[in-house]
Amino acid sequence: MRVADRRERDGSRTRSVVALLALAAVAIMAVDSAGDSTPIEPLRGATSAVVSPVQAGLDLAAAPIRSLGSYVTTVNGLRKDNTALRDDNARLRAQLETAGVDSTRHSDLAAIATIAAGSGLQLVPARVVAIGAAQSFSRTVSISAGTADGVHADMTVLNADGLVGRVLRADAHSATVLLIIDAGSVVGGRLGSDGELGLCRGDGDLSGAGRLTLTTLDSTVTPRAGDSVVTWGSQDGTPYVAGVPIGSIQSVQASPRDSTTTAVVRPYVDFSALDTVAVVVSATQSSAAPAPSRRQGR
């Protein structure tokens, strides 16, 4: 009887705690969806100050594991010297494959340096240290540069292939970047062939094959497949500087009902293999001189 009493009391206390916490969660959601500068923002900064160093550390620690790839050792029943040889082999292979990652990174950095020199843009290189999971339904990444490096919110992020996204918020040593394929991302685009303007919206695809939907401002303009799209740019280069390649037009669908044309843009950047990126910290270029980035006809 006493045990049943206690369990009853525990149960009702648990229900109270759960109800209270559920209300707290709903209250946090209400506060956070109220606007841009909510009391939640300082909390995000504080959490980032704790989590970002751990993320950066784990990223460093995981580099050799990542490069090992599908290498699996099955040494059951093998002689000792054989095991030693395999270990040697694994170590050398890891070194070799890490060297591959390092040289890719090096050539990425070199390409970014070339863009910086050619365009007059002041770029800060950074590495992608964390990637938002599909179960959160948004396409964001964390990069390893922050306000200490001159990175602030609403700056353009690009890599050697083209436009990556824009900085949402920056802390001392890390920043969160909204990728252009996120469902909430809109980028002003300019058609490479005739300079017509349009808006590129991300499709929010979560599996890596993200596309953009281009709607031209002038509904009589029909984009052609294969045409390239570059950023249109805004007054001070925030959030996007002008002339950064976005992607190429993959297909065009005309809708006779509401007389609009939408085009599917395939981004130049491979969002499933993001590694080295650069943040445009100072856009001293004139809008007439677009950034001569390497355009790949993928």
């Binding site: 045990v3 206690r6 369990r7 525990d10 206390r13 648990t14 705690v17 759960v18 916490l21 559920a22 707290a24 969660a25 709903v26 946090i28 959601m29 956070d32 969806s33 939640i40 909390l43 995000r44 959490t47 980032s48 704790v50 989590v51 970002s52 751990v54 993320q55 784990l58 990223d59 620690a61 995981a62 594991i65 990542r66 240290v129 964390a130 990637i131 938002g132 999971a133 599909a134 179960q135 959160s136 339904f137 948004s138 396409r139 964001t140 990444v141 964390s142 949402l168 802390d171 920043a175 969160t176 970047v177 909204l178 996120d182 469902a183 909430g184 929010g204 979560l206 599996s207 890596g208």
Partner: protein, 173 residues
């Protein structure tokens, strides 16, 4: 003992959140990574019952909401993992002694957690949450979490038990 337990739990949450968005992103299947935090909450629920797991779920969900690169409305994972902790805690007496029951609990927890998160996104008008996206993510998430259960769950349960010798209140109640 209570302070040590809180410290270990907090450290585990930070590491799980960081692993989930960092190194584990390389193992993503269709963009979905294993929910280490959810497995942590289920593990705590199995050892300590619904009330403690609900609190741990709420707090670790809040970390998941606020830690970069998250950009959704804060409080959504907090609510989802609060529900997961509470429900998993309610069935913990049955789920604790059988591996099959534990795996079923994880599958149900993954389904409930991702569904509550997706539903809150639909209600708040998150542009990334569409029915098509939800249908493509949730099954992968459930399968991936179940696949990782034999590795992660025994670890969490063992550590929780060690921090809690003799005070396994829920078992004796």
């Amino acid at each position: 003992m209570g302070a040590l337990r809180a410290l270990v739990t907090a450290a585990a949450v930070v590491v799980a959140v960081s692993l989930q968005s960092g190194p584990l992103a390389a193992l993503a299947v269709a963009g979905v990574v294993p929910d280490l935090v959810l497995l942590l909450v289920v593990g705590v629920a199995l050892v300590r019952g619904p009330q403690h797991a609900a609190v741990v779920g709420f707090l670790s969900g809040l970390v998941l909401d606020l830690a970069p690169p998250a950009d959704h409305t804060a409080g959504r994972w907090a609510l989802a993992l609060l529900v997961v902790g509470y429900l998993a805690g309610l069935v913990s007496q049955d789920a604790r002694h059988s591996a099959v029951a534990a795996i079923v609990t994880v599958a149900a927890a993954a389904f409930v957690g991702s569904s509550v998160f997706a539903l809150s996104g639909l209600l708040l008008g998150d542009p990334g949450v569409t029915v098509a996206h939800v249908l493509s993510v949730v099954p992968v998430e459930v399968l991936y979490d179940v696949a990782l259960t034999p590795v992660v769950l025994p670890l969490v349960v063992a550590v929780s038990r060690r921090l809690e010798p003799g005070t396994d209140r829920w078992v004796r109640a």
